[in-house]
Amino acid sequence: MRALNWKEATGVLAVLLVLLGLPLVLWHWRVAVVAHRYSPGTKVITMTAVADGGIWTLDEVVGYNYWRKKPTRVNEIPLNQGDHVVMRLRSADLLHSFAIPLLHLGPVDVPAGHTVELEFTADRAGVLTFLCWQVCSPEHPNLRGRFIVKGNNKEESW
């Protein structure tokens, strides 16, 4: 009887481990693993392209909110001169493409469901336009935004 209770307790513990452990592991990956992947001081920006409305967004576009809510369009992203930036680019629906023409950065394909990384350093002040580089959908022209890089030295601006 004691052995049976021990088995029962182990079973319940195993179920609780699954129910609590899995979300904890996933949360740890998002919070700790991703953050520690890059060198200290790096500015990590995760941005998702959504064809419906032609939107680049900083919102998480995931299963539960994909249909329920329209993501917030990101028109401007503030940076400081000298920021080292890692863009983590995603697409929530179809093949997009990303480029920052002034930096000759990209275009890189951003396939649906993939995460594509792109790095740059904002070494001068000014305005950097980013956009989807290929005609992805009827609202493709709206898939654009700007980095506003606040400068330390006005002479070194774009």
């Binding site: 049976l4 029962e8 179920v15 996933l26 990956w29 469901g113």
Partner: protein, 485 residues
């Protein structure tokens, strides 16, 4: 009326067909019996699936909305579906039900235990159950709910198999319903009467090469405890409410092996048997309609998912195309075909069979129910033929998604960017055609075996087979046209 002298005898003797072999697995490999008799057996096989199922739900809610990059879509609708329909059902009967996590919490609440047994006196059993323990209404004690549930889900299949959130919601609701019903009704009501997956498993498990049966039925008939259905201090009352002394089909045995644990006479074993050769009887209109629905859905899925007709895809894929009129036509057309037109054609073939064979002595209902078995192997093999290209063309998604199950940018095993690589797509029809023809063969063979029991007169027998055979041939040709153009 024809006589035997006017005809050539059927090539296979009746005696040979009526006695099919079976191989006692537990007698041959006793360690397997010891394994399933462990109290923790079912818990141990469900636990990994519970983990996966939980991951799927999380992925559906919080993972990427892109289906081919989300584990819930790729693992459930490509990998699981393929393994279920091509391996588990034909070779393992309802072995999926052994490991299914959906009723886990319901069982846990009912039993207040995940491993141990509680002896007691809950009504109709020798165990102690928690909950209201009510009887499921008699009027719903069939698989009609499962028929309509599956058809309903199939209507939205273009969403279900491509949108992670839709899959997550459907499985989440099934999970909640299974748990809720377990608190109100006795045993596994959800599995028996509600679960849409269970409905088609029950039908196609008839063809399977394994069965759980009593070794000697006479022992069951003299058994006073009936522990298989009532439970004991060693095992729970059969969650499927099956009495092993009368079990002669796989349909409603969920292979939980509780009866193996509880049988005081050690009289229950797992047997191997030939494919599609043993459980040849459909016992109600609900089962016949299930066979019709499944066959029609294999057809409409093939049109919608594999065919070249963009318009049908747009009709089904209402969330993208927003063509509600088209979706309405698709939904109504599919329901009409599955519930009225195809069963009507089958009924017509039975009426013709009866007329052509001059079989006035055999009631139409009996012929309608008995010949319907032919739709079972035909449907199963059609589903397998349909599922082959799914995994051959889209199987490579499994490799990428295993490294990044939620589409968050993980790369657990270094395969996250593995490209979509169809595997021999040009050879898919070469695999589909023999599978379909095998379906026709097994259907035809099943018909002949049943006909032998009904018609002693060989000419009557052969004539009675002509109309249903023409129908099956027509179905096979339609599938062939779809698969090879």
């Amino acid at each position: 009326m024809a006589t035997a002298s006017q005809t050539t005898p059927i090539d296979v003797p009746v005696e040979a067909l009526e006695k099919t072999w079976r191989f006692d697995v537990f007698a041959q490999w006793p360690w397997l019996k010891r394994l399933v008799r462990m109290r923790s057996f079912q818990f141990l096989v469900i636990l990994p699936n519970l983990f996966m199922f939980y991951l799927f739900l999380i992925a559906g809610l919080f993972g990427t909305p892109v289906g081919n990059r989300n584990i819930i879509i790729v693992f459930v609708w490509i990998l699981w579906w393929f393994v279920l329909i091509t391996v588990l059902v034909p070779l393992g009967s309802r072995s999926w039900c052994t490991v299914c996590p959906l009723p886990f919490f319901g069982d846990w609440l009912q039993r207040r235990a995940v491993v141990k047994v509680r002896p007691g006196k809950s009504p109709g059993t020798a165990n102690s159950f928690f909950g209201l323990h009510k009887r499921w209404p008699k009027a719903l004690s069939n698989i009609w709910l499962q028929n309509f549930g599956f058809l309903f889900l199939a209507t939205f299949s273009a969403l279900l198999v491509t949108r992670p959130i839709v899959s997550a919601v459907v499985f989440g609701v099934m999970f909640l319903v299974a748990t809720g019903l377990a608190l109100v009704y006795r045993l596994r009501t959800f599995c028996n009467y509600v679960c849409p997956i269970s409905g088609f498993l029950s039908l196609y498990a008839m063809t399977s090469t394994v069965e759980l049966r009593s070794v000697d039925k006479d022992v069951c008939l003299t058994c006073k405890t009936k522990s298989c259905i009532r439970g004991s201090e060693k095992g729970w009352a059969c969650p499927w409410n099956v009495y092993m002394g009368k079990l002669d089909r796989n349909n409603y045995c969920g292979l939980c092996f509780e009866c193996v644990k509880s049988c005081p006479n050690d009289n229950i074993s797992l047997f191997l048997r030939p494919f599609s050769n043993s459980d040849l009887i459909l016992r109600g209109y609900d089962e016949v309609w299930k066979a019709c629905i499944m066959l029609v859905l294999a057809l409409t899925y093939s049109v919608m998912l594999l065919g070249p007709w963009g318009r049908f895809k747009d009709w089904a894929n209402v969330s993208e195309a927003h063509d509600w009129g088209g979706f309405g036509m698709f939904a109504a057309g599919q329901a009409l075909l599955a519930l009225v037109i195809f069963p009507g054609l089958y009924y017509l073939s039975i009426r013709l069979a009866k007329w052509y064979a001059r079989a006035d002595a055999v009631p139409t209902k009996e012929l309608f129910l008995k010949y319907a078995y032919a739709l079972v192997p035909m449907g199963l093999l059609a589903w397998i033929a349909f599922s082959v290209p799914l995994v051959m063309v889209n199987g490579s998604y499994i490799i990428s998604v295993i490294s990044d199950p939620l589409g968050w940018g993980m790369n657990l095993f270094g395969t996250a960017e593995f490209p979509w690589t169809p595997f021999w797509p040009d050879r898919v029809p070469l695999i589909q055609v023999p599978i379909l023809l095998a379906g026709f063969y097994f259907a035809q063979r099943g018909l002949q075996r049943i006909a032998r029991q009904l018609f002693p007169d060989p000419l009557q027998l052969r004539r009675s087979l002509v109309p249903p055979t023409v129908l099956l041939l027509g179905v096979t040709l339609v599938f062939l046209k779809l698969f090879i153009g």
